[in-house]
């Protein structure tokens, strides 16, 4: 049976508690992973591994819940001089980010495009959306 949105939220919260050492009451939908929950870049790898493990039983063997490098956080975009100009994403950079991160709502970010504000895009809700999208493809 497919997981409900609540089930997915619960699993994501368990992973964040474990990976970031935060209390369950800190994990609110609009909490940012970096600013509010204290995630560092290596934590994204830990979170990816733990999400894969958590959702493994919910996916078909031939469609595993696999998070590729850069899928959750496409850091290479930020290091490409053609995609970032004067600390802000170019049109091309914005387009690539949207393509790589369909699980993210860019409405507020797009007005400013400042690279320094990218971390604010990663909220608990974003992560739940990301997992829900992946599960819709891989769930048995």
């Amino acid at each position: 049976m497919a997981l409900s949105r609540d089930d997915i939220q619960d699993k994501v919260a368990e992973v964040l508690e474990e990976a970031l050492g935060v209390d369950s009451d800190e994990i609110k939908p609009d909490a940012t992973l970096i600013g509010d929950l204290g995630a560092e870049s290596i934590d994204f790898l830990d979170i990816s591994f733990q999400l894969e493990k958590a959702f493994e039983p919910d996916c078909a063997a031939d469609r595993p819940f696999k998070i590729e490098q850069g899928e959750l956080f496409p850091e290479n975009v930020l290091n490409d001089a053609e995609l970032v100009d004067n600390g802000r994403l170019t049109d091309q950079g914005m387009s690539i980010l949207k393509e790589k991160m369909p699980h993210v709502d860019f409405a507020e970010f797009e007005a400013d495009r400042s690279v320094s504000k990218i971390s604010e895009l990663f909220t608990v809700k974003t992560l739940v959306d990301f997992c829900e999208r992946k599960l819709s493809v891989c769930a048995a």
Binding site: L45, D46, S48, F49, E68, Q69, E75, N76, N79
Partner: protein, 171 residues
């Protein structure tokens, strides 16, 4: 020279598991400071837990590095969990048993148990768990440059691999 915190590799299942042992000796200088005698008590030489974590990092690091024949630079990125419930004293041995949990281009996660052998009783007992994350830094630190040669797995590690019969990695 890199400070080695494992003495020998005793079991190796390629891509899956690696086991290493360390014998703790009173001749190790740091034990005399950890902990030295005070006015109130005698000296209490104990293997520092931080170095037990390093021993697991070296054990699991060799396992992760071996998967790509030590071509990639593998560094410890995160201690996910470390619980050590018993002290290890001079004359006792430590066994590190590390297994791969997840692996991809960016890095790997490992799960490990720590056991202690008191030679007077002759039985291994589990005293803790250490789970780690390793990063393949060549794939993760875009924008930063590292030396071409593999500074992570140096000559001391090759000596360890040769003595474990893993010579093919040293050619």
């Amino acid at each position: 020279m890199r400070w080695m915190w494992i003495d020998a590799i005793t079991e190796y299942e390629p891509d899956k598991r690696l086991v290493a042992v360390k014998n703790v000796s009173l001749s190790e200088e740091h034990l005399h400071d950890h902990f030295a005698a005070t006015e109130d008590r005698h000296a209490m030489p104990l293997m520092p837990n931080s170095l037990i974590v390093e021993g697991m990092a070296q054990t699991a690091g060799v396992l992760v590095g071996s998967i790509n024949a030590f071509r990639e630079k593998v560094v410890l990125a995160k201690i996910v969990r470390a619980t050590i419930e018993r002290d290890v004293l001079p004359g006792q041995s430590i066994r590190y048993d590390a297994s791969i949990e997840r692996l991809d281009d960016a890095g790997a996660s490992t799960a490990g148990t720590i056991e202690r052998l008191d030679h007077r009783h002759g039985e291994w007992e589990q005293i803790g768990r250490i789970d780690l994350i390793f990063s393949h830094i060549d794939n993760n630190m875009s924008g930063l440059e590292f030396p071409e040669h593999n500074f992570v797995f140096g000559e001391n590690f090759r000596t360890l691999l040769r003595s474990a019969g893993m010579d093919s990695f040293c050619e």
